[in-house]
């Protein structure tokens, strides 16, 4: 198998990388680009820990092959507060105690972020739908929902 060249926008910057066409996007991000904020919890699209945004839509990066992002815009957790300033959503995760072990957090935050991009005033059911694919074993979800709701209000 030969490596192919792909070009995409990663966290607001244009990049070009060479990768095997069968490489998972998750591995490209974590192992080749050293963006370890994206986590692997299951590898089969069931836990949401690997959630990232492609063209503003939340997707599981464990189910995507790297070449699929050619020409697209990718946002990982590292790109969310790139200027060092936390977003209101991130601040609310802290404030409402929506984080325990933190392993699900990057995926959870990005799922919520994707929701707020397309719908700035979601109702509770829409919030739940948006994070229904993100498992958290620590929190019980209540504080996560509260954090997202508080972000909607502001």
């Amino acid at each position: 198998m030969r490596k192919i060249k792909i070009q995409f926008k990663l966290n607001h910057n244009d990049i070009v990388v060479e990768t095997f066409p069968n490489r998972r996007l998750l591995d490209l991000l974590r192992d080749d680009l050293n963006l370890t904020g994206t986590k692997e919890g299951c590898g089969i699209g069931e836990c949401g820990a690997c959630t990232i945004l492609i063209n503003n839509k939340a997707v599981n990066s464990c189910l995507i092959l790297a070449p699929e992002v050619d020409g697209k815009e990718v946002l990982t957790i590292e790109g969310l507060s790139s200027n060092g300033q936390l977003t209101t959503l991130q601040e609310n995760f802290l404030k409402y105690g929506a984080i325990q072990c933190g392993f699900c957090t990057p995926g959870m935050v990005l799922s919520a972020h994707a929701l707020l991009i397309k719908n700035s005033q979601p109702i509770e059911d829409e919030i739940k739908d948006a994070i229904a694919g993100n498992l958290c074993r620590c929190t019980g979800y209540k504080q996560i929902i509260e954090a997202i709701k508080a972000t909607v209000k502001s």
Binding site: N34, E78, S81, Q100, A132, L135, T139, Y141
Partner: protein
Amino acid sequence: MINFDSIKHVRGESQFVYDFIPFEKVLYAYVFYSPVAHGIIKKINLDNALGIPGVRYIFTYKDITGENQVGGIIQDEVLLAENEVDFIGQPIALVVADNFLTAKHAAKLIKCDIEELPSIFDPREAFQKGSLIIPPRVFSLGDVDEAWKECDVIVEDRVESGSQEHLYLETQGSIAFPVENEGIKIFSSTQNPTGVQRVAARVLNMPMNKIEVDVLRIGGGFGGKEDQATHWAVLTAMAAKKLQTAVKLILPRQEDMRITGKRHPYSTDFKIGLKKDGKIVAYEVTYYQNAGAAADLSPAILERTLFHTTNSYYIPNVRATAISCKTNLPPFTAFRGFGGPQAMFVMECALYKASQVLGIDYHQLQKINLLKDGDEFPYGQRAENCRAKVCYDSLEKIYKVDEVKGRIEKFNNQNRFIKKSYSIMPVCFGISFTTTFLNQASALVHVYTDGSVSISTAAVEMGQGVNAKLINIASRVFSIPPTRIKLETTNTTRIANTSPTAASKGSDLNGFATMEACQAILKRLKKLAATELKIEDENQIEFKDEVVYCKGEKTDLTWNKIVQKAYVNRVSLSAHAFHATPGLYFDRDTSKGHPFAYHVYGTALIEVTVDCLRGTYKLDSVQVVHDLGETLHPVVDKGQIEGGIVQGIGWMTMEEIIYDKRGKLITDSLSTYKIPDVYGAPEKIEIHFLENAPNDFGPFKSKAVGEPPFMYGIGAFFAILKAMNVFRPGLEIKFIAPMTHERVLMTLYSEVKEKVRL
């Protein structure tokens, strides 16, 4: 109160073991494990696997230079199988290669001829065949045999409770590398750094001081990384030593689910005798614990089952027998509650069944029998500062249980197929390691010359917020902001001989040690300040918000200044403190003593809606009154309670572990094993902290929080059961958990005698 420790998480900057790249060159390991539940290894052929380019080495038991033994309580578990395999998933070999995929691919090419032997998967069958981990244990109080004569009704039944996968979101993993002087350093995702160090030393035949274990944080543990993180850490240490380079082993989710232990399934017989008025007179219970193929922590878990036999109730005559049965499944291990939930579930089943026979409301029965001060537990300790009743009563008042009842009755009268119900679940949980010597911890505190503070303890941060609590404690003692305090990694070179972070004791033990170390430094600073301010009595010095006060008056001395002065005057700015919980003892021969520093109490109200046509249900709400003493960190504590409740509900309702006839786990991925997602969690959770409830045995009068809330989840089972009984009065109930949707449906319609009229 914000948990500052979480800032890195929300930015995606926090590192877990599998994020570390400490070296340019890291090799990746993959475990080759037994595909049969019981058998003799006839031949193992590694040639094909070794022929794959990129494969560096394949380890078998023959490569072990020390003892091939990882057992803790009992030394009955090999690291790599020798001649016999005892469960599917038992590690046989470790493939090490340049990258993960190569290692995995090579493992598939290992040929292993195994002659299968008969297997046992059922604990009762194991018991009959004499396959036990330890001899049965018995706790008793009063005279059960005599007491039956006084009873007006006697009820018996059988209870089954299922296993549960921890599903920490971060799977098990470790990375090890050689350091100078023939040492090995291990980054492990473990709750038990010293456990890893001790076993690595044993297996590698090295002194403990040459093995350094470091834990930055772990992505959830719940008990699953108390004993069972060790194997992976030791395997990487062994490989790193031999290959003289860094070796990383991260279990993929499916392997993690297949190989590692889970919550113990229990099969139990109970017999309960009561007076007509509802007072329990006698209770006899026999627990068959399915321990799996090796002891692991099973004997300790078995003991905690016995400790919690009577949950939050007083029963004058008890005989509880617990039998740890050896089967051919992966060794079951610690999981939040540590055997307590299994006992409490049986207790509630006994009360539920008795209520039906007696015709007294189930919750009335609970209330009649609640523990009070001075009541004796079957293990000889007496209830002190007992808050069972105040929690129960407050719950009824705060959440208006009478109104809830009325509302539910009205709903049920108006709806034929959809039924609502509620249940109340009181919990009493003993706090301390029941193995007394584990109740020790130390802390090392440094104040640097710029006034910033560093703390090292034995506690492992796994999401339970122990770092935030320890920072809070130091911040209160020194009266400086939390932002000036840093929690270091848990490292065996800084803090030696650590107890695992478990038994909900992390904050208590390490909290006291931290407090004592900080106080020792503070005392020196006060003395120095007294000298500086030219007064005799250092007790008139106070530190408040980074300023030194003398006789209540503000002075020019600040925290920073006095720290500087201490350094210049050669006063030590570091302290190491050791804490051992006082007053604990337990005699394993008589099964009597004072094993717990105190108990945590609480009560939950759970409401459900069951669709009795489809068997589906929804958790409407869980409302709780919980005794935290005086909370050290309300945000962290609330999170622990909510998370515990949801996990407990998962165990009782949707999380079902299924093995096939050969002992192979069928529910080995997240597509077949379901934990609560946002829709599986209750629609509403409300937590009320019991007021005016200081605890003299916790740091700053707090109480431990980790495990007790898990058991509120048991109430979900009974709420669903009650709704089913409303739909079908007289329905014959089997006490089998989890009560999945499927089981609700099958129970409601298994013995349909009359046609359901639509």
